[in-house]
Amino acid sequence: MANEQLRRIVATDCGSTTTKAILIEFVDGEYRQTVRGEAPTTVEAPLNDVTKGVINSVQELEELAQLKYNNKNIKFIENEQIIIPRNGDIGVDAYVSTSSAGGGLQMMVTGVVARMTGESAERAALGAGAIVMDLIASNDQRANYEKIERIRHLRPDMILMAGGVDGGTTKHVAELAELVAAADPKPRLGSSYKLPVIYAGNKDAQDIIKETLADKSDLIITENIRPTLEVENLGPARDKIHDLFMEHVMQQAPGYNKLMQWTRGPLNGKLQSIPIMPTPAAVGNIMQTIARNEGIEVLGVDIGGATTDVFSVFKDKDVKEGEPPKYIFNRTVSANLGMSYSISNVLASAGLDNILRWVPLDIDESELRNMIKNKMIRPTTIPQKLEELVLEQAIAKEALRLAFVQHKEFAVTLKGTQKQREISEAFSQTTSGETIVDMMSLDLLVGSGGVASHAPRRHQTVLMLIDAFLPEGITRLGVDSIFMMPHLGVLAEISEKAATEVFDKDCMIYLGTCVAPVGPFKSKGPALTAEIELSNGEKFTEEIPFGEMRLIPCGIGETAKAKLRPGRGLDLGAGKNQEIETTLWGGVVGIVLDTRGRNPFVLPPDHAERRKLLKKWMSELKVYPEPILK
């Protein structure tokens, strides 16, 4: 039964380019997403007021809802304001919002040892949805005057200071505080308030920190992020970041003061203010909810215009059998990898050859360079020509690949909100933390963001995810249908039921399953032998040589029984040469059998040979219309 007070909800995400609004309604006994509107975000000059973009996008919702229900009485806005509470067709029961406009939440973090307290501080900030502009640590090789110059130059929204275990030496953390005080950093937005500094380090240094920073900053002291070497305690610092995001950063951004008055909904029986959430924090919430609810390991990516976020939830492999699983959440943000503002940086970071290796067409370098720069300077344009779509998706693969490399490097050992470790392990991770990202044990890979959600064919999303992430063994693939994970992440704050129902029915689109044997292929036989029986009784038996792709039709909600035998020396998850009998999930695309190789995955360096193969795979997977692949 729905909350009687919650039958019609508007949710917006104020992104750096567009403000996306969705309408969620309680229809026929369940919550569904019904209409969607969008408008340019208006945090910049000349409008300088985020609410204008919100009103424009909600206005579109209102018009579409009127059309959908053929009811001109439906009204969400009056006097340039969202009407809450609802009275019949007039108004909505709740309005919630996320935001990454104006560059999102930008933070600087400090720690004594970069790879220990520094990394913990970085994790807390990233987990709260921030972009970490820099990590300043006592041992980061820069001279003190360079650190001061850097802090002065950065102008973050806030600083998170960690350092030292409780009861340890206070000298280094005191020195860092002195550097921050000497730099006298100014906040990015607004000059009339002091920069918020959260101190979450050695508790014995709290008085020294107060003495050094209380006058120069808006100092907030919270629990130590690393009370002992083997315990990481990120929760209190993350909460403080969220509070400050609302109290300070959002207050300074143009129009947010007004927007914060608007976001309200029924909570505990009363109409209450619902905090605006940083977009990545909302997406992170959703990813963790999926993993916990389904008991699976999830890797998600949100590729935007400016940044690419990667989220992962893996099970703690140290938990003994029989004990409940522990989930380790990690988020990274690649601040300069994206498909519009940052598209040129994908070219600069990946290099032209890496982009062209995914392009099945003969493209002139100069033309490609100009196209990329034109997209950068006019970020809201969309590819009308097929050739340009192919190029954008090739660039997306590289953006995703690079963001994933960064994620794997960051998601190493000692993770999560609170984790106990043996002292010996704590020491070993300071020198070389191994990544916890295990593509073989991964269950679900989810794509989100414009280029993934709005690809004209879902097959394109499948190939982008497979090429960029190279899933191993058996991996289910999904996509956020129209980019609404942020909305649902913040909606869950007032109604978990509404968020979950909409997520299952309208947000998550299962694309299918990828089956990819892993290991160097040396023998001459097939790389994969697959016997697949669909739920309608249809059977497929395939002996697939190395270097091929196959698409087996298996619809959404359907499953197939599969007997999968890897080629000699290859592994599908049960060990080398081990056959697997399992159930494969279908989806809007189907089951993809990929024998192109993993560890290593190598594309032929010869252009002509590679293009021929790309065309063959793309044709098999129905990625693009046939004429362009001829």
Partner: protein, 374 residues
Amino acid sequence: MGKSFSQGLAVSENTIVRKERILPLKGEVKVKKGDKVSAEDIVAVTMLPGKVVPINLANKLGVTADLVTRFIKVQEGDKIKQGQILAQTNGFLGMFKSTVRSPTEGEVQNISRHTGQILLNEPRIPVEVRAFIDGYVVEVIPEQGVVIENKSSYIQGIFGIGGEINAEIDVIAEAADEVVTADKINDNHKGKIIVTGEMLHYDAIMKAKKVGVSGIITGGIHDQDLKKLLGYDIGVAITGHEEVGLTIVVTEGFGPIKMANKTFNLLKSFQGKKVSMHGFTQIRAGVIRPEIIKPIDFKEDELIDQEAELPMIEVGKVIRVIRQPNFGKIGKVVGMPEELTKVESETLVRVLEAELETGEKVLIPRANVEIISD
């Protein structure tokens, strides 16, 4: 829905231009409300804090941090000279003293008994902010800067490099679609802003640089040429701070794109006149586009605040196509179909129907046009 919002670049013969001229840190405003200023006038000054020099006195004196205060010879806030003694131990019977001298002139900012560190500030660095445009001071933001307004002919570029300049315009292209070659650029163009047409290749840019041209306005530029000129690939679109010896404003985009007639004709009317121009471009988080501003005669009471609004695409509006196919072409909106339309890339989008200057009618995604506004 017969309307939709659009981004657009302003190209106008006559508009009110407002410029905020703000100091990086609080300082002193040198003009007052109502003052008439010219582009070169200094309107505000401040002193940026000097470099901070940290010295670990405890280590240098060989004492623990809490003992440093016993040997310190200066106090927080003291002005100091280079070589001045900061701290000195008593030594043994007046001998074997450890002495720490200041490596710089400046001021003592902080002495810490927790870390034994002294922080010195080098002398402050003066910073001046100029008016950039001729006009009236319409607002003084105390200690921070001013707002200057004037009436101008005004052109927004799509992309630029290089900082603020004030120089005379010289239109060297004969037509908006001319590709100006290096041989057309000579010593007469020294110190001027040259207007080329559709495109300028690398050798022409280098020639302009060699003869001392102050600025270039061009329809298009090849990204490869830009990379060669800068020596690196522009990753994130935040520009304006390049030091390549000249300022470049691109009006249309990358590749050979004919300069819009309206822009070219307006620039022709600037021939021989002084303009203010900059290449600052920031696409993300606070859109900044390059600007070319030529003040026109006006009286102070003609200046009025404008109500900002997003340009709307409607039937009858003149638009420019900003993505392939037909990139750079100008047309008039003749239809705004409501339903989603599948374009060649199979993307389902809202489109508009436009009649191009050639008379050809085409469907274009609404996101791929910009309004040519007045």
